[in-house]
């Protein structure tokens, strides 16, 4: 069964304390892996798409990487405004109409 697992479920950091979020996946064939940010009471906001192992994408303090089994979202020197739930999702090869399979998310809290 195709599966996406994110860890940890929750992460508390001090401002400036860098860390990484993990997304491991077991799928029949990967078309793309997506990272989203979700703030309370809002819809997921698109961050990155990764297509193949070895690929990296960066945006401000965030950097996403991809291997054949997992993806990492590295957060460098986080600020309180980075606090949110980060969602990982995969799109399968042969998957219907681009449907995404989401993990359960990592809730990140950054304290000043």
């Amino acid at each position: 069964e195709d599966q996406v697992t994110q860890s940890p479920e929750a992460l508390r950091l001090q401002e400036g304390e860098s860390s990484s979020l993990n997304c491991s996946y077991t799928v029949s064939g990967l078309r793309g892996l997506f990272w989203y940010r979700q703030d309370p009471g809002k819809g997921p906001e698109f961050l990155f798409t990764l297509y193949s192992a070895g690929e990296e994408k960066e945006k401000e303090r965030l950097k996403a990487t991809l291997t054949k089994k997992e993806s990492f979202l590295h957060i460098t020197a986080p600020k309180p405004e980075d606090s949110a739930t980060y969602l990982c999702a995969v799109q399968l090869r042969g998957g219907s109409q681009g449907n995404l399979i989401f993990g359960k998310g990592t809730k990140l809290s950054v304290k000043p």
């Binding site: 793309g32 819809g43 997921p44 969602l87 799109q91 681009g98 449907n99 359960k104």
Partner: protein, 113 residues
């Protein structure tokens, strides 16, 4: 200049009622989706739709039906609402093609009493 919008934002209703949630996108996308986010914040696909094909997740009860009057709109109709339907419903859209990013609306929180 909202990209994906949904109405209403909150919907409170009684069991057994029929309700609709509207979704509109102004991104020029040709594929739209409905997702359900349960109380544990787990986001799960319900439908995907373009002008040619509707794909229904097999776990979705047939009380739920998407209706698309045109490419920019995909509304969600729910008949005979049940307590377990309480959740946040998100509409999303994307361009057709491989691994295209999906852009989400703000969500509709449905509460069934």
């Amino acid at each position: 200049d909202t990209a994906v919008s949904q109405t209403p934002k909150y919907l409170v209703t009684q069991m057994g009622n029929d309700k609709s949630i509207k979704c509109e996108q102004n991104l020029g996308h040709d594929t739209m989706y409905w997702y359900k986010q349960d109380s544990k914040k787990f986001l799960k696909i319900m439908f995907s739709y373009n002008n040619k094909e509707l794909i229904i997740n097999e776990t979705v009860p047939n009380r739920f039906s998407p209706k698309s009057p045109d490419k920019a709109h995909l509304n969600l109709h729910i008949n005979s609402l049940e307590l377990g339907d309480s959740a946040v419903y998100f509409c999303a859209s994307s361009r057709r093609g491989e691994a295209r990013a999906q852009y989400f609306g703000p969500g509709t929180r449905l509460t069934v009493l």
